[in-house]
């Protein structure tokens, strides 16, 4: 019998939503939440002996201590296999799944497996350290994710050979394997070139790694004369969310005039973000977008000017493509408005 420990967050553990995201880890015997479906998919050769539940914010605000606490809990069950998630496109959950899987693999030396959407930040952070089953971006993909996780999990536990990412459904780890082809390299290369010239589809045998890095710009020379703009992915908007920016998977951003606004108050601003407990930001949005202290600094001459507009969107579940599109549009405006530096806050 393969003994499995499963990890889920406070939401899937049925404890609560964002208002419970700060709960400390706990371990329960048997299955909880999505563990039920996972248990069925794993079949009779495996058993989920325990489930760890932890709040997403607690984990991400205390990565090291939370990992150590959870590792100790898992150890007491001496499992043969550890599964975390699936996390879909929940960023903090994905980071938690990846961090714990890595710690379990290194400390307990057992196979580990998690599952998430390819744009989850946890995927980029951990895809080289473990198998991450590629899932849809939302929990509606649970029905497809669970069998894929179970199938790969059993293979890993039985130490079977693992096929390519495309065959097994995991996120590519950047590993190359030697194999024999019937046609020699020069012929394959010419075939690819001919296909390309004809505008036909072809598949490269060596995809170039995607290094999307931007070099840092020169620092601000004289802060006391600089125009500083505020940008946030924390969803701060004028009270009532006039442009109806979505609480997750945002399709738009907002641009708001703060000329003469000295302080963001409960009566005037709030957050539209659905991915964290909004209580604190709704009481005082300066906790996310520090307008009050920048006004003080403007008065004191520490900065030249706080730019008249701030830009905002909700960063949870919002696709990389949309985020890029929003920012490349408003970055041009910032440039045209003579903004010399940006403070971007994230929750």
């Amino acid at each position: 019998m393969i003994k499995v420990v499963h990890y889920i967050n406070q939401f899937y553990g049925g404890i609560g939503g964002e208002e419970k995201a700060d709960i400390k880890p706990e371990i329960r015997e048997g299955v909880v939440g999505p563990g039920m479906a996972l248990k069925a998919a794993l079949g009779k050769d495996a058993e989920i002996v325990a489930t760890v539940i932890c709040g997403d914010s607690y984990f991400n605000e205390n990565i090291e201590t939370a990992t150590a606490e959870i590792l100790d809990m898992i150890k007491t069950y001496s499992p043969d296999l550890f599964i975390a998630g699936p996390a879909f496109n929940a960023g903090r959950y994905g980071v938690a799944c990846g961090s714990i899987c890595k710690a379990v693999k290194e400390n307990l030396n057992i196979p580990v497996l998690t599952a998430m959407y390819i744009e989850n930040p946890g995927a980029d952070m951990f895809k080289k350290d473990m198998f991450i089953v590629s899932t849809a971006n939302a929990a509606t993909g649970m029905r497809q994710a669970i069998p894929a996780v179970a199938k790969l999990a059993i293979k890993l536990a039985n130490k079977e050979a693992i096929g390519s990412p495309a065959e097994e459904g995991y996120i590519p780890q950047g590993i190359r394997k030697n194999l024999f082809r019937t046609e020699r390299g020069s012929k394959r290369a010419v075939n690819m070139l001919v296909a390309k010239l004809r505008g036909e589809a072809f598949e490269t045998e060596y995809p170039m790694p995607d290094f999307d890095r931007v070099a840092p710009n020169q620092p601000v020379q004289d802060m006391s004369k600089a125009k500083i703009a505020l940008v946030t992915s924390g969803g701060i908007v004028p009270k009532g969310n006039p442009d109806r920016i979505e609480s997750s998977s945002a399709s738009k951003y907002g641009k708001y005039d703060i000329e003469g606004v000295m302080d963001l108050t409960e009566a005037t601003y709030e957050t539209a973000h659905g991915g964290y407990d909004p209580v604190y930001a709704n009481i005082d949005s300066d906790r996310v977008l520090p307008v009050d202290v920048l006004r003080d600094m403007e008065k004191e001459g520490l900065i030249g000017k706080l730019h008249r507009y701030f830009y905002t969107t909700t960063g949870n579940g919002t696709s990389v493509a949309n985020s890029k599109k929003f920012a490349s549009t408003f970055a041009q405006e910032l440039l045209a408005d003579g903004v010399q530096a940006v403070i971007l806050t994230s929750t």
Partner: protein
């Protein structure tokens, strides 16, 4: 978003709680924040203490914007 702003030539500092995510995303100047639901505040403190805390983080961010960096740099001092 940090990368698209940096790409047009404007230096940008990212204030965030989960620094590993910021590093993965590709921010160059990173200032750690307090907590996910209140990166620049702490409701456990008085309003005045909280504002002072916020001021310190923003000052650190301004310092980061005035500092020449050659790669991803976390300003946690």
């Amino acid at each position: 978003m940090v990368k698209e702003i940096e790409r047009v030539g404007i230096p940008v500092v990212h204030i965030c709680t989960v620094v590993p995510i910021s590093l993965t995303v590709g921010a160059n100047r990173i200032v750690p924040a307090i907590a996910i639901p209140h990166p620049l505040g702490n409701p456990a403190k008085t309003m005045a203490e909280e504002k002072q805390l916020r001021r310190e983080i923003v000052l650190k961010s301004l310092k980061a914007l005035e500092t020449e960096v050659h790669g991803q740099t976390v300003f946690d001092k």
